[in-house]
Point group: none
Chain length 252, copies 2
């Protein structure tokens, strides 16, 4: 296989260069870039080419172009604002943050309409989880059952599906590899206790309490994760596919 050489289009080279400067922090967030005409001259390209590069960066969410005003740096990392999605999975911390926001709201809602039958479902999931804490695979099934069970209380299929899909994102090889470092009987038992707190709040019809308990749970999950991996990953810059059990630095 002779790696098809892709002749880089000029506007892409320009976009790459500016994007790199933003990521490296050489262009501060909020800072205004030079005018298009000036920028084009500095980069030795024509204005249309420079504009095409800027449009790419705007589509990626790095900059914001305002008519008559100027070009401004909006964010430093690709938090993707426009659907130019990259890898199907986002970072672990990002995922947990999203789950915290969404599932907290769901728990709050669930507490308002929980019936005895719904609580029974949660109890079943808890019981199952307590019995398989040693089994890395089985415990995940029980964990998932608990979280989707909460969504099921609201009685909304979309919520159940979204909750399940977010949970399933950890079922990728990359996530499992990372998870194997911090998930263990000890951490699962902690998670189980937090689950019980959530269940109790929902059973009591305590919406605020359920929300808080869920937030505590997912925040702690995040904490357990970061502790096991140390600060090397705290930056959590993209898919560092650092194989190996030893926690090597994310060689990017």
């Amino acid at each position: 296989m002779f790696s098809a050489v892709e002749s880089r289009r000029l506007y892409r080279q320009v976009a790459d260069q500016i994007r790199l400067m933003i990521i490296r922090g050489e262009l501060a967030v909020g800072q205004r870039l030079p005018a298009e005409r000036e920028l084009a001259e500095q980069l030795s390209v024509s204005r249309p080419t420079l504009r095409e590069a800027l449009i790419v960066l705007e589509a990626e969410g790095y900059i914001n172009i305002r008519m008559g005003s100027g070009i401004y740096v909006t964010r430093r990392h690709a938090a993707e604002a426009t659907g130019s999605e990259r890898e199907p999975v986002e970072g672990p911390f990002e995922l947990l943050q999203a789950r915290a926001i969404i599932e907290c709201a769901i728990s709050e809602e669930a507490a308002k309409s929980a019936r005895p039958e719904d609580i029974a479902v949660l109890d079943e999931a808890l019981r199952a989880m307590s019995g398989v804490v040693e089994d890395a695979r089985a415990v995940l099934v029980a964990d998932r059952a608990f979280h989707t069970g909460i969504a099921a209380i609201v009685g909304n299929a979309t919520l159940i599906r979204v909750t399940g899909e977010m949970f399933d994102m950890r079922m990728t090889p990359y996530f499992e590899k990372l998870a194997s470092h911090f998930e263990g009987p000890v951490s699962w038992r902690s998670a189980l206790e937090e689950h019980r707190a959530i269940r109790d709040a929902i059973a009591a019809g305590d919406a605020a309490g359920a929300k808080a308990a869920m937030r505590t749970h997912l925040t702690n999950s995040q904490k357990r994760f970061s502790e096991s991996f140390g600060e090397e990953f705290s930056g959590e810059e993209g898919r560092c596919h650092t194989a190996g059990p030893n926690k090597g630095k994310a060689a990017t």
Copy 2:
């Protein structure tokens, strides 16, 4: 209010138009688009403008531009990159309820960390929407941009993706057929007003207000829907709390 002059950037209108044609399947995947010069003439824009629109679509992954060869449609949905073609569509009311719960929480969070640049993005979406209220296609694009724009404020790619995916569920033939009965310039103008309220609350850093405004917006959407729904298909009852059988099943 006075129908806001269409001051939208031209290349975005062009991009929106082509993107919608792709999403709707009017342009088949793999199909080659007309040459840039010809396309520009058909759309009554200059070639540079058309190019800028195409570059946006390429950055979003909808098309693939091969120099010397042509422009090809690569995929129909932005989310198709994951390869998972989802079909299990839930009911309209169910979807709106789920969005209400989830997007309320996101708005609440967004209000806590909104910066001027983020508000500028929302304003851009609002302005775009106000100019195309008459255009059933274009208004959807602006609507989507507003909702994902809020998620983008939090800076979490997962939230952006989930928000976008939920929105895109209305892009199915079934939903569009139903929507055609209740969506119109009048209802869109109401939605626009509600959007403005949400934007103002977020800009003011009012978390509770943002949450409430978003809930009002999606509740009203549901109301608008059900009113027209009732006229067309009178009799149909309480579909909004379906999912009865799901209530017992935790693991899906």
